[in-house]
Subunit: 327 residues, 2 copies
Amino acid sequence: MGATGQRSSGDIPRVVIVGAGAIGGFYGAILHRAGAQVELVMRSDADVVREHGLTVESDVAELGDLSFRPHAVYDARATPVPGADFVVCCVKVLPGVDRAALIAPWLGPESVVALIENGIDIEPAIRRALPDHRLVSGLAFVAVSRVAPGRLHHHAYGRVSLGNWPGGVDAAATRLAEWLEAGGIAARTTESIVADRWGKSLWNTPFNPVSVLADGTDTNVMLDTPGGEVLIRALMAEVAAVAAADGHTLSEAAIDKNIAATRTMNAYRNSMALDYRAGRALEIEAILGNVCDLAERYGVAVPRLSMLRTLIALKQAEAKGLMGDRS
Amino acid sequence: MGATGQRSSGDIPRVVIVGAGAIGGFYGAILHRAGAQVELVMRSDADVVREHGLTVESDVAELGDLSFRPHAVYDARATPVPGADFVVCCVKVLPGVDRAALIAPWLGPESVVALIENGIDIEPAIRRALPDHRLVSGLAFVAVSRVAPGRLHHHAYGRVSLGNWPGGVDAAATRLAEWLEAGGIAARTTESIVADRWGKSLWNTPFNPVSVLADGTDTNVMLDTPGGEVLIRALMAEVAAVAAADGHTLSEAAIDKNIAATRTMNAYRNSMALDYRAGRALEIEAILGNVCDLAERYGVAVPRLSMLRTLIALKQAEAKGLMGDRS
């Protein structure tokens, strides 16, 4: 303890989770179960969680009840305590939200910044703002939702991919993966987290915005309505073309595999569809806009992705107008 | 008068308007003012109109109050009286609505079928079902809406283009145009009504479905949101390519002219946007689907129009599911 702030003792890492919503709260619970010192920075529900802890019920039998009482809970007005071993950022990637500014107050000289966030090309803003810190980039494959203040419901999945950005796996990435594994979920390190991001983008970039344009519809509607599967495949092909231009060629079978896997699921409303239906902000730029921007940088034609982006912008402009904010 | 039904005497035409909603009621009022014998076939409001007449208030000063009492008003259960001089069909062009079957009962051997309806390629179904009748195809440029049972409000415009299908102008087309002119609106005959339809489609086919995907938004949102005008122009270019393949090359300046004219208007919600917001059926196939089908027939690539069609289908499938009709 000193001017640089508070570090946990010995091997037990002090983990500050910035943006502890459903995803951040869930992985906080996992790391707590592993024995880490977990502190949550919450935009909402901080009072409830400080008093009663975070309730995390999982449908995954091996995980069971993950409810825990965090070592500390901070709201927006709290004075940050810098010097965490890991500052894990689970904030939604939205225009106008300065994630680096939310992370910075919790950092000491040795702190590792870890992102568990969706999207393509979401690391450069963090790297530029925080150039002196090790940066671990992570992707979560998980279905978890907030059901009430201080209450999460974990429906399924949970695995995490972790690697340094733009590539490689250092000791910090390995250590975070080990602690997540110790907490009961699959966490794999990857030499190319960007490749993993493209792999996830192949699904998210088409399905998420299309579901929103269809008012938050599910996978069955998107694949079974005439023209739907053809459109999704055409959008996936455009994503794959951008990925290849970015140096991450996806396997030829990737599109077929994604469609087949989606068909094995029950009708599924993806996270963006749920965000839309709940009136929450959408990670459109992280999931779709950044892919379009990279396509432009590389000179790859993406007429359908570009059209999708514009249609979402129109829908959001109309919604904003209806709320009386239109000038 | 005889077995073939009722004809008006002398030069005064008996006009039966099938599908006398806002558009049909308005042109019925115009023809009544000109002195024609006007009879309305109404899906709704027949009782009110039979008792009180049709109230038609116009914002166009020269037209003023067009309210009138039709010579006859028929509802769906009425026994048709065949032998009209003109059977004017103003029914929305929707899948599953057999317009020819609605027209046929009012026909005698000499009756002229006139369509005042939106869309591309909407005449073949009528021609096939009613091969022995003269066929006049018409387009209305009018803003009129039903404000209450038996009450219409005419906001602006009103001109009509008329011609035979697939081309030419016969005496029947000329006569109908003359009666409309006599009623106070501009009615021009054209040697190629199909070319006129493509001209209107250049605007409707992009703007109408895009407005629906943006939840019924207006022209300002569509043109002023980043990417919006670029998308509308790209969609217009695809429409123009199909029109050219169909033998109706639009002028090179047509797209610029349409955009410029739209920018001179105040924020405008088109008829399909209004239909969407009111929960009414959409003429998507007539306005967009038929253009895509023609494109396929001619081998013209229309990736954006095709995507638009699919996205509308997904949105409609989701809406149907929410109403509990999804299997």
